[in-house]
């Protein structure tokens, strides 16, 4: 029988990875809000983020998806 926690790690890992890939700006904003000034990498009146951070979060997203897939394979395989 599949280990519930490993299966949960797989499902939530894939979920977080997908969020990082689909909405990297949102992930950066969650980390930076209240810690860094808004609009860095963007203009006044926006909360855009720089391309550097966007790429980094997408890279992390790939990592979460790969790790989630691995734990899914371990749990169900």
């Amino acid at each position: 029988m599949a280990d519930v926690r490993t299966l949960l790690a797989a499902v939530l890992g894939l979920l977080l990875g997908t969020v990082c890939l689909v909405a990297p700006d949102a992930v950066v904003r969650v980390q930076f809000a209240g810690r860094r000034p808004p609009g860095r990498g963007g203009e006044y009146g926006t909360d855009a983020v720089s391309d550097r951070w966007r790429h980094l979060i997408r890279l992390l997203g790939v990592g979460f998806v790969v790790a989630g897939g691995y734990f899914g394979y371990v749990a169900l395989g």
Binding site: A9, V19, A23, A26, R29, A33, P37, G42, Y44, G45
Partner: protein
């Protein structure tokens, strides 16, 4: 009564944030056997350090420098006059080269700082700059910066407690460490959804206050329009490359829910009503 809508929304979001915090505090008291006083003290220290470091980092990250009165006497006079009209102390005025037109406020009422970029001063005329300054002063008067730090503080505390709860209830294998990281991140996102909802509303309130302070919303609307038109021009040159990398438009559902600012078009529309 001033900002009744904001107060009502703050009561709802504040209660939700308090509920998250209360659950986290109870978990810490139960698992680590900490007395309530210690939990409260540690929380205040955590948020206090975040506030101090956040302010320092915000100014440092853009290389902000003091803007001497001799260099920009008109700007100083304008800030002083707006601050007086809005009933707050004149904030420290700083300048930075950010590569784009931008401005932001840090600190609190009585110890606020407003940073403007050189690009903003070059792009906008005097009345538009006044609109932007009034908006930033409104953020200081309405304690928006402090609210955001507090919200982020609660989100971080809840996320850390959620991570530890996963770690302490597992076998400490690699899947547990991964699960702890993921649960922490997702928990922080969940709490920040509520913080961002109130932050977007606070932007509208600051716009309204800026319009009241200078007598009209038109200069700030023009400033936002001018800046967003400039941004569109730059983005259209990059679109072909960027579109290849984007799977979805990042202003979709989730991205909108996790935004600190409402869409610029909506702000302009409200300012002109």
């Amino acid at each position: 009564m001033r900002h009744l809508g904001l107060k009502a929304r703050m009561a709802v979001v504040g209660s939700i944030l308090f509920a998250f915090y209360a659950v986290a505090a109870v978990v810490v008291m139960g698992v680590f056997d900490w007395p309530l006083a210690l939990v409260l003290l540690a929380s205040v220290a955590f948020v206090g350090v975040q506030y101090k470091i956040g302010k320092w980092m915000a100014l440092r990250s853009v290389g902000a420098e003091d803007l001497p009165e001799e260099r920009a006497p008109d700007l100083h006079r304008r800030v002083e006059s707006l601050a007086r009209d809005m009933g707050i102390d004149k904030p420290r005025l700083m300048i930075a080269s950010m590569g784009v037109p931008n401005a932001f406020a840090v600190g609190r009422k009585g110890a606020g700082t407003v940073v403007v970029s050189e690009e903003l001063l070059r792009t906008l005329d005097d009345s538009e700059v006044a609109g932007v300054l009034a908006h930033e002063l409104a953020h200081i008067r309405n304690r928006d910066v402090v609210m955001m730090v507090l919200g982020q503080g609660v989100a971080s505390i809840v996320a850390i407690v959620a991570q530890w709860a996963v770690l302490l209830t597992g076998d400490n294998d690699i899947a547990d460490f991964f699960l702890a990281i993921v649960v922490g991140q997702l928990t922080q996102m969940l709490v920040m959804l509520f913080v961002f909802a109130i932050s977007r509303y606070r932007e509208y309130v600051a716009d309204g206050d800026a319009a009241d302070a200078i007598g009209t919303g038109e200069p700030l609307a023009r400033a936002l329009e001018k800046i967003s038109r400039g941004a569109e021009g730059r983005e259209s040159q990059m679109d072909a490359q960027a579109a290849a990398l984007c799977i979805f438009d990042d202003r979709g559902g989730l991205a909108n829910l996790l935004s600190t600012h409402p869409p610029v078009e909506k702000r302009i529309e409200r300012l002109r009503r």
